[in-house]
Amino acid sequence: MARHEMQPDPYPLQTAADEHIYFSREASSGGRGFAGGGCGCN
């Protein structure tokens, strides 16, 4: 359980990049964290 990959979010920059892409292309956001993307992504 102490292994890095077993942590809830072991690669936060990777998660942030994914969520930014999905936020800018889909109507849903949040779940793992807050909704919204802090951008006016078109």
Binding site: M1, A2, A16, S28, G30, G31, G36, G38, N42
Partner: protein, 476 residues
């Protein structure tokens, strides 16, 4: 996003970010050195990664570069980001993150395709000129001249772009830069396992977001259960190029008033993290979010079509409700099977615009050795349409209060496939590269399409390939 080219400004932004990040990282690393001296030991797990167990001060530096490209000449983006976290021996943590985005390419404007060429028009600023005046002593001065009457007359006509027959209408003048900074602080306090504060600031050429958040987490059940509550507040400002268009008015080249509109967003995430068994970690979140204010895409239009032929007759700016409430339930499970780790997550989302969505995601990390792993992944996503979504409006029918043709608010399914390869040259460093392919599919040929629209693909969904290259470094 602004529709004009500002490369010079982008260069200044990049230089500013580089200077700022260097200064901030230096300021944050300094106190780390003194705390690390007191606690300079660590352990490695079976997979050659330092565990930095409890009571050890250390820092993590994460950096990543995202390169994103959509098909058909659409959006391209390059996004470097970096994150520095400093961990104290008593569970304290401070973090600082920086992100920079450069985005360009073509983006659908919301109009339907036609079997005839279509002309669209957007505002453009009248540009002045410069003149060099040389003095008797040989020195020279550059004088900026205001726009001439000819410049003003040309600008009044706006920027026109023509879309060929049977092509998806896209504006190819899309160009934007964004940079964002975020920070966080957390530590145990007063018997509470974790108390945190954070914030963020994001700025692009036509949008700004400021957010603050706070978090409380408490452990129970011999630290096998963690309950957490996180609150978030965000204040956004949209200041589109050309001003804020009046909803459902005809597309035109005039500069509009007001020039900006705001949006407030508040939300919370209630979380439960449970060590279900020795090799099974589970996380369950409920999220609620409320948004109030300007939610329109100021550049997005809808076609108004002839009721018989389906030919576009005019184009109206879209309009969305000012309020939106969203809820989601997110459930993630991680299973440690020794050389492999399975990460399975599900999400259900709904809002009061009529959108519901389901998401399922799986990643399988396979440790090939102590220093190399591969991780294939897949994601399935499906959403229903907002109740004010339509591909187009019909001439002669009553104008609805709200209307958008933004495919992102329509019904579609998306699939993402990816594979990641990681390499750990030491127990404290890791390089990884991940490639993904993303594709949306939707109904581009609705049965009620009118006239020539029956021959067109009305779904403007995107497909994209992107690569993320990352580096992590844990150090004392």
């Amino acid at each position: 996003m602004q529709l004009n080219n500002k490369k010079r400004r982008a260069g200044q932004v990049r230089e500013s970010i580089a200077s700022l990040s260097a200064a901030l990282l230096a300021a944050t690393i300094t106190p780390l050195a003194s705390s690390a001296a007191a606690q300079d030991y660590s352990n490695s797990d079976n997979y050659n990664r330092d565990t930095f167990g409890p009571g050890i001060a250390y820092s993590e530096l994460d950096s990543a570069l995202l390169v994103y490209k959509e098909g058909d000449g659409r959006v391209k983006a390059i996004e470097p980001s970096t994150d520095l976290s400093v961990h104290g021996p008593a569970g304290q943590e401070i973090s600082l993150g920086l992100v920079f985005d450069s985005v360009s390419g073509a983006t659908p404007n919301g109009a339907v395709p036609s079997d005839l060429p279509q002309t669209f028009v957007t505002p453009i600023k009248a540009q002045g000129s410069t003149a060099t005046v040389t003095s008797a002593s040989g020195g020279s001065t550059i004088i900026h001249l205001p726009p001439s009457p000819g410049d003003l007359a040309a600008a009044a006509l706006g920027r026109q772009y023509i879309v060929p027959a049977n092509a998806l209408p896209m504006d190819r003048g899309f160009h934007d830069h964004r940079w964002a900074i975020n920070f966080g602080w957390s530590q145990p306090m007063g018997g509470i396992y974790d108390v945190g504060l954070g914030g963020g600031y994001s700025i692009e050429q036509d949008y700004r977001a400021i957010s603050v958040n706070t978090r409380l987490a408490q452990n129970f059940n011999s630290s096998n259960t963690t309950l957490s509550l996180a609150l978030n507040a965000e204040l956004d400002s949209s200041f589109p190029y050309g001003g804020v268009p009046a909803p459902l008015t005809e597309m035109n080249p005039q500069w509009k008033s007001p020039t900006s509109r705001g949006k407030t967003q508040m939300g919370f995430v209630l979380g439960l993290t449970e060590v279900v068994a020795r090799h099974w970690l589970m996380q369950l979140n409920y999220s609620f979010d409320w948004q109030s204010g300007y939610q329109n895409d100021p550049y997005r239009i809808l076609s108004v079509v002839d009721p018989a032929s389906g030919e576009p007759l005019s184009y109206l700016y879209e309009n969305r409700p000012r309020e939106r409430k969203t809820q989601s339930v997110f459930w993630e499970n991680k299973f440690d099977f020794g050389p492999t780790v399975t990460d399975l997550s599900l999400r259900y989302f709904r809002d009061d615009w009529g959108i519901t969505s389901k998401t399922a995601e799986i990643a399988e990390r396979i440790n090939l050795s102590h220093s190399i792993y591969v991780e294939p992944s897949a994601r399935w996503y499906q959403q229903s349409a907002a109740n004010f979504f339509d591909y187009y409006l019909v001439q002669g029918q009553p104008l609805p209060t709200y209307a958008t043709s933004d495919t992102r608010l329509g019904k579609f399914t998306s699939l993402t496939y990816g594979v990641k390869v990681g390499f750990k040259p030491t127990g404290r460093t890791e390089f990884y590269i991940r490639g993904n392919y993303y594709r949306q599919t939707g109904d581009g040929h609705p049965s009620n399409a009118i006239g020539q629209l029956q021959q067109q693909n009305l779904f403007a969904g995107s497909k994209a390939a992107y690569v993320l290259i990352g580096y992590t470094w844990d150090f004392h």
